[in-house]
């Protein structure tokens, strides 16, 4: 019995070391001892109940697994965004605000009828005011029906005329239900050429562009709006300024 307790303590110590190593960035830690690892592996194989009897380690295992999975997803996301960059991220029809060489890029997938999207808008704007080292890339992902599609097309068409930022602001801060009349009126009030805007909204290039954005969103496992990709981190749902700033710190730290 005494011997068993000693063995368990020894294994606990080893497991802690191994988890600490696994949780670190480098999975090929130079200090890892293959013999120790094998010893732990063999012990856990022979005593599968060990982890169940020590729930704190299960939490550790889950945390490591989750961190690995998040890292894997981030890498896959980055690879996908790089592969599709010319089509949808850097495409001529993609509105982007902020310096192209900003340290962090925030890609926002949003819908102009989505309440959390609208709620996040002033929060993002507040961060943008105090942090000039950011680039915002706006992707229209209309998921709330026909009038959302209408507004998304209008936003892209407004971008063609160089009027995206103001038009986006009006749509994000407007409180009236979206209608064609409202959208065209808004564009006219901002000095956009409404006839050109309406023609651009029917341009197959614009329509196909929005389809490509949607395909990209689905490949990224985005299933709702708003969804943000802040650096390498995917954030589902609304963002407030405080949380965004925390994520920015985290992302910039990862760059160092």
């Amino acid at each position: 019995m005494i011997r068993r307790v000693r063995v368990d303590r020894y294994v606990v110590l080893i497991v802690v070391v191994v988890f600490a190593t696994a949780c670190s960035e480098s999975l090929q830690h130079p200090d890892r001892d293959p013999q120790t690892e094998e010893l732990v592996r063999q012990y856990l194989t022979d005593n599968p109940g060990f982890l169940l009897n020590n729930p704190e380690f299960l939490a550790g295992v889950r945390a490591v697994a989750q961190a690995r999975e998040e890292r894997r997803q981030a890498l896959a996301r980055r690879a996908l965004l790089d592969a599709r960059a010319s089509v949808v991220i850097d495409a001529e029809l993609t509105p982007a605000i902020g310096p192209a060489d900003a340290s962090v890029t925030i890609i926002e997938f949003s819908d102009y009828q989505c309440v959390p999207c609208k709620a996040s808008y002033p929060e993002l704007a507040a961060v943008a005011v105090s942090d000039s080292d950011l680039r915002f890339v706006h992707k229209q992902l209309p998921v709330y029906g026909s009038h959302s599609v209408l507004a998304a097309r209008a936003a892209v068409a407004a971008h063609r005329q160089g009027g995206f930022a103001a038009f986006h602001h009006e749509l994000m801060t407007g409180t009236l239900p979206l209608t064609a009349e409202l959208v065209y009126g808004m564009a006219g009030d901002l000095g956009l050429d409404v006839d050109v805007l309406r023609a651009d909204m029917r341009d197959p290039v614009v329509i196909e562009y929005l389809s490509a954005v949607r395909r990209l969103a689905e490949q990224l496992d985005i299933d709702s709006t708003p969804t943000f990709i802040v650096g390498d981190r995917l954030v589902r749902g609304g963002l407030n300024a405080e949380l965004l700033r925390e994520i920015l710190v985290e992302q910039r730290a990862a760059l160092d």
Partner: protein, 548 residues
């Protein structure tokens, strides 16, 4: 505002429908002589397309049962939406393909989305849980873990049968062979929670059809298990319909054998009782015992089961099903509609209504159909959303099966509210029978058709090519986004002849591809298609008739 638009729509539809549209051939063509979609039918179609267009992973309005054997599982809503849209396209707007083709492929995409089929991976754990249909322990994993999480390879016909029917419908209705491509139906299972590597199971139309046919053979045509240890008649109808169309498009001959042998099974094993004419509950595989419908949850039978089985069975045994229906309708109607206030109708109350309504429409009992649709419109809270019409599921649909305080049906499940009532309304009578027994001929796909209609602003309520009169009839109505004007494209016109175009009964002009249009609002495209512009202040009908 919405009501005013609706009234304008209805009024204009009535006026336009009565106007003669005179083609150059001299014959009078009346738009009202051709099938058209009513406001409600169009609304149902839009709702189902709206659901199809939701992002992967967004199941808004569809309840909260991703996959599995619950009748509200997304797989059933997706599949029956595909069947309902197929009925609409085949019978009402056969010359309008792109909208329905794209919706069909979106629905198939959703069907192979992991949320929908991953239930079967959980099923593989049943051995550990020790429960089957009746709560008995069962050893079911003789094929091993990976074989079972493939949702098609063994059993699960309540999933794979629907997928086969959907894919076969897609190919048959749209002459679209994308699912014949190897790997076109991929099932990707990340499996991270099991510690394994991602697993990809590639399917295509042929593999799906043969895997299912082989299971019929392996079962000696007793039927394929729908879920753990249970064979249901209705589940096995869907793969049969899938095989019928697979045979039609691939020149194979699987379905005749399956129909003949499964009919024999139904007769010999009394899957449908010759005494009370109701469909069995299920066949308990381990005990080889037929569990009749009348022993569980219902003293008479199960309207949902009879409706579900009958609507599909009618495709290949129409008279048999019609004869059954005459008895079944007496069992369930009108007792279903009204009872003691607050009385418990049992967990199938909503499904009983939905699937039996679908059957009533298929066998052509239009009086019962009208009664049931009126009932739904009066008691199920019809709701318009983004141009779509549906009956929102009751918040407590998973647990409250009592009648309401007036004795009417309270429970509305997502499958009933989203798709089954819609399918009922969209079936003109014998609708599935005709679709499967009179498949599209090759020349249908070479005839003129309409495309590129702006979905957010226009509804296509008529689109049919009259081969005898060499005329395409198209009617557009305003959609959810108001627009002064819209355009549509007419494809596959014969470049060697001229066409006379009529709008709302008045001749717009004569066009010939070689000499330009010369008609205001009409332009020839480089690819030989014709684009027609129209104001969209109400309903407008067009006839594009060949001058032979």
């Amino acid at each position: 505002m919405r009501h005013r638009t609706l009234w304008i729509f209805v009024l204009c539809a009535a006026l336009v429908g009565a106007q003669p549209l005179a083609p150059s051939t001299g014959a009078i063509i009346l738009a009202s002589d051709y099938p058209s979609l009513s406001t409600e039918e169009m609304g149902h179609i839009r709702h189902m397309i709206n659901l199809a267009n939701q992002l992967d992973g967004d199941w808004s309005l569809m309840g909260n049962t991703p996959g599995g054997d619950n009748f509200d599982a997304y797989q059933f809503q997706i599949a029956f939406a595909a069947y309902a849209l197929s009925l609409a396209q085949y019978h009402k707007v056969p010359a309008h393909r792109d909208l329905y083709r794209d919706a069909s492929s979106r629905l198939i995409e959703k069907m192979i989305y992991k949320d929908v089929w991953q239930y079967w991976a959980a099923m593989s754990q049943y051995e550990k849980r020790g429960a089957d249909q009746d709560g008995n322990s069962s050893v079911y994993r003789e094929d091993g873990w990976q074989g079972w999480i493939d949702p098609n390879i063994k059993s699960n016909i309540m999933y794979s049968g629907h997928l086969l029917q959907m894919v076969s419908l897609h190919e048959s209705l749209f002459d679209d062979h994308r699912y014949d491509e190897p790997g076109s139906l991929p099932f990707v299972f990340p499996a991270i929670e099991y510690g394994g590597e991602p697993l990809r199971m590639d399917y295509d139309h042929e593999r799906l059809a043969t895997v299912i046919y082989d299971q019929f053979v392996a079962s000696d045509f007793l039927g394929i298990e729908c879920e753990l240890g249970a064979i249901y008649t209705e589940c096995n109808q869907h793969p049969i319909l899938g095989l019928i169309q697979y045979d039609q498009t691939h020149g194979t001959d699987y379905s005749a054998e399956v129909e003949q042998e499964f009919a024999e099974t139904i007769r010999e094993r009394e899957f449908i009782s010759p005494e009370n004419h109701t469909t069995m509950f299920y066949l308990h595989v381990r005990s080889d015992e037929v569990i009749p419908a009348s022993t569980k949850w219902s003293s008479i039978g199960m309207a949902w089961s009879d409706g579900w089985n009958g609507q599909a069975h009618h495709v290949w045994a129409p008279q048999y099903v019609k004869d059954l229906y005459r008895e079944q309708v007496k069992l369930y109607i009108p007792g279903m509609f009204e009872g003691d206030p607050g009385s418990d109708m049992g967990w199938t109350s909503s499904f009983d209504f939905g699937w039996f309504a679908v059957l009533a429409a298929e066998v052509g009992d239009m009086r019962t159909v009208a009664t049931m649709l009126d009932y739904a419109d009066e008691h199920f809270g019809p709701t318009w959303r983004d141009g779509g019409l549906y009956y929102p599921h009751t918040p407590d649909y998973r647990e409250n099966f009592n009648r309401d305080e007036n004795g009417f049906i309270h429970n509305i499940s997502p499958v009933t509210g989203n798709v089954l009532v819609a399918m009922t309304r969209l079936n003109p009578g014998d609708g599935l029978w005709t679709l499967y027994n009179e498949p599209r001929e090759e020349k249908h796909f070479a005839e003129p058709f309409v495309s590129d209609v702006e979905y957010i602003e226009a509804n296509v309520t008529q689109a049919i090519y009259d081969r005898d009169k060499a005329a395409l009839i198209v009617t557009l109505a305003p959609g959810p986004v108001a627009s002064d004007s819209t355009t549509f494209t007419v494809n596959q016109l014969d470049p060697s002849i001229s066409y006379t175009i009529h709008k709302d009964g008045a001749q717009m002009g004569v066009v010939h591809s070689g000499s330009g249009s010369g008609v205001a609002g009409v332009t020839w495209n480089a690819n030989g298609a014709l684009t027609i512009s129209t104001e969209l202040d109400g309903v407008h009908s067009f006839v594009v008739a060949a001058n032979q």
